[in-house]
Symmetry: C2
Subunit: 318 residues, 2 copies
Amino acid sequence: MDFYILNNLISKYNSFIVTSHIAPDGDALGSVLALTIALEKLGKKVLPIINDTIPQKFRFLPCSEKVRAFASEKDKAEVMICLDSGDPGRLEFKKDLRDICNFIVNIDHHKSNTMYGDINLVNDSYSSVGEMVYFLLKGLNIPIDIDIATCIYTSIITDTGSLKYSNTTPSCLKVLAELVEIGVKPDFISREVFEKKSLASVMLLKEILGSLKISEDGKIAYMRLTKDMMLKTGAKEEDTDGLINYAREIDGVEVAVLFKEQDNFKIKVGLRSNQWVDVSKIAEQFGGGGHARAAGCTIEGSLEEVEHSILSTVRKYL
Amino acid sequence: MDFYILNNLISKYNSFIVTSHIAPDGDALGSVLALTIALEKLGKKVLPIINDTIPQKFRFLPCSEKVRAFASEKDKAEVMICLDSGDPGRLEFKKDLRDICNFIVNIDHHKSNTMYGDINLVNDSYSSVGEMVYFLLKGLNIPIDIDIATCIYTSIITDTGSLKYSNTTPSCLKVLAELVEIGVKPDFISREVFEKKSLASVMLLKEILGSLKISEDGKIAYMRLTKDMMLKTGAKEEDTDGLINYAREIDGVEVAVLFKEQDNFKIKVGLRSNQWVDVSKIAEQFGGGGHARAAGCTIEGSLEEVEHSILSTVRKYL
C-alpha cells in the first residue's frame, strides 16, 4: 500500500472528518477511533462521525464517546477520510460529501469499492481496515499506543471472526502479535466483543432458530428475522449481529441466508458461505455487494417473494 | 526452553511412544500428531498412543488414524514422550510407565505438573504444548511441513479458545502467522474444531433457550434440558457441550445453572459463574465438586424440586 500521497495530505491539512458505515461493526469503529486518536496525536482537529447508533458493546473502545452523527451545517473539514465503506451511500450523510469537505480519502478492503475518493486506498488483501490503518500509521511514523492498539486489535478480530474466516492472514496475525506486545489484553477484548450478550439477544436467537430451514440437499440454511420478533423480544439492531452464523455453522451447509424484514416492504438479505460459493456475486445481482464469504443486499418485496428469488439464485451457484 | 538434552536423546534412540491425556482435546492430539509426524520424518519408529476415544471432530488431523490405545505386552519403546499431562495418571496406561519404556520425557505447560519425567520440559508461559513442540522442532532443525503445521495450529487455537483466553501471547500469535505462511487454512481448521454443528444440536439450542429463566435481580440464569428435548431433536450427549454458556454470557448474570434430566429420577446440575461466586462450594453441598467457575452435581428429585433447592442455595452466595 502506497501511503506517500496520504502522508503529504495529512501534513498539509489540519481538519479531518473520519467516518465509516452505518450499522457500525468492530472494524468500522476500531478503524475510525484508531485513526482519530492518531491524528489527534499529530495535533489535528478531528471529528469522528458515524451516522448511526454505536452499539453498547463497543463502548469500551477508547474515545468511543467522541463519535457522533453528522450535525449538518457546523460539521465541515478540509479532508474526509472514509473507512470500510464500499460506496458513499453506506456513510449516510444525506448531503453531498463534497459540500462537507474539500478532499475525500477512501480507505477500504472491499473488492466492490466504487472508488469514490480523491485518493482511493482500496486493497482486499487486508483482513480489515483496522489492519490498513496499522500500516498507515507505521508509514506515517505515528507510534501505536495502547489505545490505538486496542482499536486495531478489535478491528482485526471482528473482521476475521477471531480467526474463523479465510481472511486470517500471516500479516494480520503478526499485527495482532505486536498489538499484544504493546499491552492489549486479548481475553478482555474478546469478552467485550463476542461474549457479553443482552437477554433480548438470547431470546431473539431462540425466535430466529424457530424459523430455521434447510434445503433438501442440506447445503442452504436460511432463517427469518421479522419485525414481530424484534418487538416481542425487545432486541435492538445490534443484537442481530452474528445470528446468521448459527445457520452457516450447521454441518454440510455451504450457504446461509438471513432474511431481515425492514420497514417499507423491504427485506435485507445477509449471505454467508463456507468454502466455495462467492456470495458477493449473488448479492451484486440484487444491487448489493460484499466479500466472497460474506455479502448482503436489500430487496423490495414480501418475505416469501424475496426468499423465493434469493434461494433460486443461490441454487444456481451450488 | 533448552532442547539440547532432548536433541541428544532423539539422535541416540530409535523407538518412541508419543502420548497424551485421556479425554483428548485439540492440544493433546495436535501435539502428539505433530511430534509423531516429525519423528517419523527422522526415520524413527513412533507409536502415538492415547488411551481414550478420539473425538470425531479431530479426525481431520493428519495421521489421526494412527493414534490408538495402549495394547499391553507388545507396545514398548526406548523413549516415551508424554505431552500436556500434569501427572502420569492422566495418561491412563494402567501399568507402570517404566515397564513400557527406558526413558520418560515430560513436556507440559501446566503449572501443577508433578515432574514425573527423566527429562521435564515444563513451562507454563507457553499457550499450549503444540507451541512447545513448534519450538522443539525448530531447535531440532526439523522442517515444519503442512501436516505438522496443521496439528500445531489446532493445538494453539484449541488452548487459547481462538484468542479468547489470557494465554494468547505475542509468541503464539507469531507461530500462528508462520503456520499460515506454511499453508494452514485458518477457516478450515476453525470450522472443524469449533463450528461444525449438527442440525440436531442447533435445534436443541432452540429448545433449551425456550426454557431460559432469569432471577428477578438478573444475577441467576437457568435452563432445563429434558429427556423430551433430546428425543425431539435427536441430539446426542456431545451436542449438549457448552449450552450452559448461553445462560452465563447474558449481561449481568453471575451464576448460570443447567438442570439436565437423567434417568432414574435424577437431575444433573451444571453450575457456572462469571466473576465472584465460587460454584464449587455450592456443588459440594450437594455431593458434587469442580472449580470456582465451573462445577456440578447430581441430585435425586423432580426438576421442580431440584431447581428449588439449588436456586435457593445459589441465592445465598450472591
